[in-house]
Point group: C3
Chain length 206, copies 3
């Protein structure tokens, strides 16, 4: 499905940019920026493939993802001072990546005949684990564990795809609808500044 592949590459580029920017913000050298770009863009799908036992992971079967991540990280490294005009488009591309990664992950888990929770987890992990690795390598508590309806949009999309997969709807429609649901939820969350509840916890004794 060519549309999905195009969206996948667009999302990969957006995730690589976010990783490279995190590396620059942490004063890493060129190699560090490359590693953070690569890990953010491809870490989630790589972990999914390891867990599914589908080795070597997708990035080594189609090196396009690796070349693209490296190219984007290099561009960010060189031009990051002149990227302000990209701030808004990157938010959209990131949301598109999120939706695409979720449906690719959950879809692949369904092909591997995983159960309900497993399939949803694979989708959420594909979309969020790369960002978690980026944050761990920058010694920060992963952003996705703390803020906004980011992971929840992924959860919703994974559940929706699982349900649609039980209906006679063609797979390509199910993928498209679920990806759109994630993207719309994510953009609404940014627009209205939604957030998940936090446990009321006495912050004096941290």
């Amino acid at each position: 499905m060519n549309l999905l592949y195009s969206l996948d590459l667009l999302g990969t580029a957006a995730f690589a940019a976010s990783g490279a920017l995190a590396g620059i913000r942490r004063d890493m050298d060129l190699f560090g920026v490359l590693v953070l770009g690569l890990v953010t863009a491809t870490g989630g799908g790589t972990l999914r493939d390891l867990l599914l036992g589908d080795t070597p992971p997708f990035i080594f079967k189609d090196e396009t993802y690796l070349y693209l991540s490296i190219l984007v990280s290099l561009l960010v490294f060189v031009f990051h001072k002149h990227m302000d005009f990209l701030h808004h488009p990157l938010l959209y591309f990131d949301a598109i990546g999120l939706g695409t990664f979720v449906v690719i992950g959950t879809g692949k888990a369904l092909d591997f005949r995983m159960g309900f929770i497993g399939s949803v987890m694979m989708g959420v992990m594909t979309a969020t684990a790369g960002g978690m690795m980026r944050d761990v390598l920058s010694t920060q508590v992963p952003l996705v564990l703390q803020r906004e309806v980011y992971a929840s949009a992924c959860l919703a999309g994974g559940v929706l795809l699982y349900l649609l997969h039980l209906t006679p709807l063609p797979r390509s429609w199910a993928l498209l609808i679920s990806a759109l649901a994630v993207i719309v939820l994510r953009l609404l969350a940014i627009f209205y500044n939604w957030s998940l509840p936090r446990a009321a916890h006495d912050s004096n004794n941290r």
Copy 2:
């Protein structure tokens, strides 16, 4: 062996509670608390299965572990202010989990014909790697690397099971004795506040 399975689920619940509490302490949102609960409870066994090449890992073959971890994390998220009465029982359940996870890990490694160090490592990893992942995701130096006779109890249990496996003792007895050894050692360590030696290191120049 039904007793071992019951103890395994009890330990899973205790580990999930410890993970969820760590998430609440670090001000994570609901998703973060769920992830920390899941990772703490199932991360060690998942890493073991990845290393053994037994994919997908056990949690995707029997989703009970996932449902249980999510349920416990949700309960902790909602009721964590009223859990003081659970403080002591949780220490016991945690020790039971520790013993059970060690013998399941080392036992599985023996089934896969691993050597001595490999089998013991698999047991220790099954019991401790989930907690390490919890700490890394909370950007804290893993507790298990710093304090008390926690990992050492696991080491002792793994070695004991390896030795018993060389004798004609039935496997179920070997598992039970080794798990008990870990649990007793761990509870004695808590009770007497034992700790491992630390290298005498000049803490001025850290």
Copy 3:
């Protein structure tokens, strides 16, 4: 190839020593020091084997690496106050480990018919991922992402081996030449204090 195996063990010992020292510097107990020594020495190759789908990883097939890492970590734990005379030799052994790990990683990836970027990545990862795990477990931003021509020497060696592998040169020569290139680059980088460019980034707003 016996020379390569000897160099591999020498590098493993040097990496284990660096991990154990990091554990001591972070006030870890004996178990923590052992884990950091093990992870630093064997983590890179283990991750490589997981990604290649070659499970269980090499350390479980030849437990020499595990025994050696544990022995070295124990020695460092006991004698670390009297190791100053080892400071210089350790830098050389570390460089030898770096070169050996790169060519072993890239060489194995070539045997698994990986592409260009994949093969080079496998070499770099074999040499650097263990150190990254050491730093993440010590909650520090991985050193290799921040300083000096460490990873770049690995990159150069991986690329060189890939290119030599396209020529009719015997494999053992290609491995030796590429490993030497990494070692020499690394020692020159230490000697002349080379470093990679950093993105000019306004450090006020970090």
